[in-house]
Subunit: 698 residues, 2 copies
């Protein structure tokens, strides 16, 4: 019996069609094949070594014959493409978009339906997507499942988080693929809102490393009108299969031809730095749809926020009394409300004094007394301030100080309510001179039954950004689905959270020291993250002697994060009074830029360390950040990225001699030296530590 | 074995508490009892005869102990209430709201939770609701089911439509309760969008008549933040049980204490006219929340609408090509588009000439090429006219003629899209001087998985009306959930369709002649219906000789409907050229009023006939409408509603001698006589016919 199965298997995998494609540098090789029963498969090699074994491709349609076999080739086309484009805000002044493309046009013999598969080979990886062209036999359709396989070649080391439909705010797990087990995770991790999970379903992007040191990353780009793709991992065969996040009734995506899936991406390199410098995901997104982008500006900001996380103040005005909104009940102030006019003025003063662009105020609007955990629909109205927050007075004061206010819109997951009120909310913002909004989605989604990562929510996040563009408003979404490069298309999508941010350090088990060395290989590939670095008072016992929570880095590493984390919107998250106690360290935050002409990934190893240098947009200054995991690290970096022949004043912010993220996190030193492009700098990073350096030409 | 069951049953029904309440006129008697195991039951008698046997009450909560037993009485209170109030628009200048109330406050011993049952006995029926007061033990909760029973006393005759979650646009079935069988219905009835159904689930309101001639109606009032109640009928015991329409994931209602269910109503009388003149449903709704109602005005209107139904014109501009919206594709006009500037001007001229207040234009905005049947989300944008409809020019022309334009918003069921665009749509309306909107919901609901009759949609319909009020816009919703008196609270909710309207006669099996004699006992109890009467060209063969469809009434009955159907928004639905061919009959439509000081139900029998007289608001004129079913009818009506001593010119529009809805529907005659309050008029109605009379004081 077994033999005959083998025989049949051989019989059916006789190729009807095979096409090869190479990357521009010839290192990557793609083979696309059509089997005897008309199934499409692909495999990938890197420097002649198999990276992805033959893997199936296909779509399952609701109430229609699956689009996964019985194909015949109608046509195939190859092309080469190369262009340079300039992002509005970014890590590079110019981005090279270079690939070789293979387009395979297929006809399903049994149905007469057409589907195209488009493959793009960049030097750093493969991208492919499904395209349903306009056709008579297929117009509206529902995707029930996507059968995209990634057949890995071995039991790679992987950095993964569980395939939760509702949250990505997990610490990364570093295990062999075969050891993935979501059920073994400690879920007492501070995440307030978790969705369904299964044992071996993980999220993309997943970063991997093979035993022979190939770095490998599976992700997606340009998720538009489609759900987020998670990955079901076969723990024995190491085949990953796409799992699309469903909607309330189990459907995945509602489409009308012509339609495309997002790009599925497989980045690969024997140099980890290639993954970090890749602009593949950005390149796979459409160019900017905003014509006049002059109003989209990078922003360094402070805000009334961390003081709530450390327990010094509250978002709410009247305590958690399960009160209705202010319209319905008289609120009695507790005296702990953070977002007062007076406190806001203090932050505006601080921002003006130290050159910050913006001030965020959370908890300014009524609703926080009863906002979370009850699937409540009408929580916030986004236009009614608490009695102690005078919008007009704040506006006038901020304008007089030349500081921009940043609006906060917590939706508590009630998207129906937010969409109903969006125009009113944005009009209110513009009336009061707000150009940027931080949105939040903490809570179970309404429409009920939807998940944060489903098609409807992807569309919502994109819609908000598109509608915001019409108001010339920049968006920084928190608890959204993780970005996949859509900020190329809508550059006002200035940042997102969509991963475990610094805030978890304030009130949970926190983020392990390795966390920030993994994020660049995962979350950051999709777009800027509002991680909110810059915490100087590392230990929460500073606020309350009984507290054990702490940031899992040294103070110097908090500085280095401003460089290792790319975002054109960066917060100086700690309290003004904390910064004022460490003026020499704070100087780096004041000086560091957030928009760049050039980025050099100097060193990178996922889960271990990252060293990055960036040149300021339009200026000669550079900034360098080096971070390590829980292990101390000594390294030497060549400053050959600096302009040859020029002298620079380098100010080095480094861990103190006995610094240690847990035992002695606040030990740091600042020194200034003169360097040139020929200088080699020795860096000594403490356990959980980092080094930040500014370079100003002399 | 059987005996012991009986014994147990007896044991458990020992009353722990019993309270009686009577209606103001003492004809109705309510008994509320608490059984030994703490279940609440009620029964009702009318003139000492049982109407509702002991019936259970209770709520099933998701993930919590059911709120249906283990109750103990905390308190009970009775009160009498009587007030008069004036509706903004209505059938009466003053409405009497008079009832006796019993409030039963219960504590669930096992959980410490509280629930109140409030019963109101009007002279014409019982209303009761569940109230969850603010309490420590119950704050947020989800209703999984409502266990409200209506234990009927016999196998009554019932006028019912199937318990479809998505549509009420059915013809009524007249059967014994025991003969209800949804599966036996011919579903080839022209309804484009049907939801799930079961064999013996029917909709409320359901009108019934017992073998001893008691008229009985089960319905609900003030459905706010709650799903619509359908009824599961036990075909043997004649017990009806509430069935709430679920949401996408099977939940019924999301509530927070304090919260109320809608009122469950049981109207009863030995005089069918009592049911029609009842204002119970209105009285059970909250008073108007709109302070300045001066902008809410009754409206008689014509429009570009019927010509699409008869096939003379199309809503779309470019044919059904599955085109994307006009923004995406160039549209080629078919030449059949109804909503052109030129055609609109023709209707404006006609409205101005004949004294109509408004002109409705459907098909004015892009999207109709691909609007229905595909669960498409972004169909209409509500602000982009077709190239041949010049909004500015139409506005100017209508203003110059003193005619108001009525906007049309077809959502195709894509509520997410409509809510996103609602503020833009309403702003566009006000900019162009539209004060009223006809909305449409033809299609499967988005958010996907929701039904037209679920809580989310009830909230949507109410939200649109509330938001419209802020813009001073009147709403006429089509394909919405059927109204339950919310127009008392928001009088700008001027009308709704939400039943099988006249349009079905143009292109389906149509509405049987009895249809309009049943609607007053069912759909109209909840609020005004935009039925669109006034069709003079009864047979569709007028437009196309091959067509068999026709209106199932005589022409004279079409006139009578303006009186028998109460609505402050009434359309003269036929084409201008058709009216111009019958100027004498058209005179009635020109003269008939739509807002009233007084209404007299002269005769009524569900499924057979209705005769109603109404006195014009603020004037001495009266209008009378008499309609019959498929049987001809002769009757005599006393005109004692007229002011005694006054002489009136009565113009009688009646069926011609050989008139018959099918064989000779257009035969009619008009005569004028002088009458007084003492006059008795003989009316002769043809099969499917009617009589309309205007009375103007001399």
């Amino acid at each position: 019996m077994k033999k005959s199965v083998c025989f049949l298997s051989l019989f059916f995998t006789l190729f009807m069609f095979a096409q090869q494609l190479k990357s521009p540098d010839n290192n990557l090789e793609l083979n696309v094949t059509l089997t005897a029963n008309g199934k499409v498969q692909y495999n990938v090699k890197y420097k002649s070594k198999a990276v992805i074994h033959n893997s199936n491709l296909g779509l399952i349609l609701k109430n229609l014959e699956p689009l996964n076999e019985n194909f015949e080739l109608m046509n195939h086309k190859t092309m080469t493409f190369s262009e340079k484009w300039s992002p509005v805000l970014g890590e590079e002044k110019e981005v090279l978009n270079q690939y070789n493309q293979l387009k395979v046009e297929l006809l399903q013999k049994t149905t007469g339906r057409k589907i195209n598969l488009v493959f793009r080979l960049f030097n750093e990886g493969l991208a492919f997507r499904y395209e349903i062209p306009t056709q008579e036999k297929l117009n509206y359709f529902i995707i029930s499942d996507e059968e995209t396989q990634f057949a890995l070649t071995g039991d790679h080391k992987a950095f993964w988080i569980p395939g939760d439909y509702d949250s990505q705010e997990y610490s990364y797990n570093e295990t062999k693929l075969s050891q993935i087990d979501v059920y073994k995770l400690d879920m007492n991790n501070g995440i307030g809102m978790k969705g369904p999970m299964t044992k071996s379903r993980i999220q993309s992007p997943v970063m991997m490393k093979s035993t022979d040191d190939l770095y490998l990353n599976i992700f997606e780009a340009a998720v538009v009108n489609y759900p987020i793709m998670h990955l079901d991992v076969d723990l024995k065969s190491f085949v990953m299969q796409s799992h699309l996040v469903p909607n309330a009734i189990g459907d995945k995506a509602y489409l009308q031809a012509p339609a495309n899936s997002p790009w599925r991406t497989i980045m690969m390199s024997d140099d980890a730095r290639t993954i970090l410098s890749s602009k593949m995901v950005l390149n796979l997104n459409e160019p900017s749809k905003i014509e006049d982008t002059s109003w989209i500006k990078p922003m360094k900001y402070v805000g009334i926020w961390w003081e709530m996380h450390v327990g010094k103040a509250t978002w709410d005005y009247a305590g958690s009394q399960n009160a209705q909104m202010a319209q319905d009940a008289e609120l009695k102030p507790t005296g702990k409300h953070g977002a007062t006019t007076e406190n806001t003025k203090k932050y505006i003063d601080f921002a003006a004094k130290h050159g910050f662009d913006g001030v965020l105020v959370e908890g300014w609007n009524v609703g926080w007394e009863d906002w979370f955990g009850n699937w409540k629909e009408n929580v916030f109205d986004f236009v009614t301030p608490y009695p102690d927050f005078d919008v007009e007075e704040v506006q006038k004061y901020a304008e007089s100080k030349g500081v921009k206010m940043i609006m906060h819109h917590e939706t508590s997951g009630s998207v129906s309510n937010y969409e109903r009120r969006l125009d009113r909310a944005f009009s209110f913002m513009k009336k009061h001179n707000y150009d940027a909004v931080k949105s939040g989605y903490v809570g179970k989604i309404i429409p009920r039954g939807e998940w944060h990562d489903g098609q409807a929510m992807v569309n919502h996040f994109n819609y908000v950004v598109e509608r915001a563009a019409e108001y010339k408003i920049m968006v920084n979404s928190h608890e959204s689905s993780r970005p996949t490069g859509y900020h190329r298309t809508y550059p006002n999508y200035i940042a997102a959270e969509a991963a475990r941010g610094n805030e978890f350090n304030a009130w949970s088990v926190g983020n392990p020291p390795a966390h920030e060395t993994i994020l660049p290989f995962t979350r950051f590939l999709g777009g800027p993250m509002d991680y909110t670095p810059g915490i100087f008072e590392i230990k929460m016992s500073h606020y309350d002697a009984t507290k054990k929570e702490q940031v899992h880095t040294t103070l110097a590493k908090q500085l280095a994060l401003y460089v290792t984390i790319y975002s054109p919107l960066q917060m100086a998250a700690d309290l003004p009074e904390n910064y004022e106690r460490y003026p020499d360290a704070f100087q780096f935050i004041k000086e560091v830029e957030v928009d760049w002409d050039k980025t050099e990934i100097l060193e990178a190893e996922p889960g271990d360390y990252v060293t990055i240098a960036r040149k300021t947009k339009g200026k000669e200054s550079w900034f360098l950040g080096a971070i390590t995991d829980e292990n101390p690290r000594s390294t030497e970096v060549a400053l050959n990225f600096l302009t040859p022949g020029k002298k620079y004043k380098a100010t080095i912010y480094q861990d103190g001699k006995d610094a240690h993220w847990e035992k002695n996190p606040k030990a740091y030193s600042v020194k200034t030296i003169v360097v040139t492009a020929k200088t080699k700098l020795k860096l000594n990073l403490a356990a959980g530590g980092g080094t930040a350096i500014s370079f100003f030409p002399l």
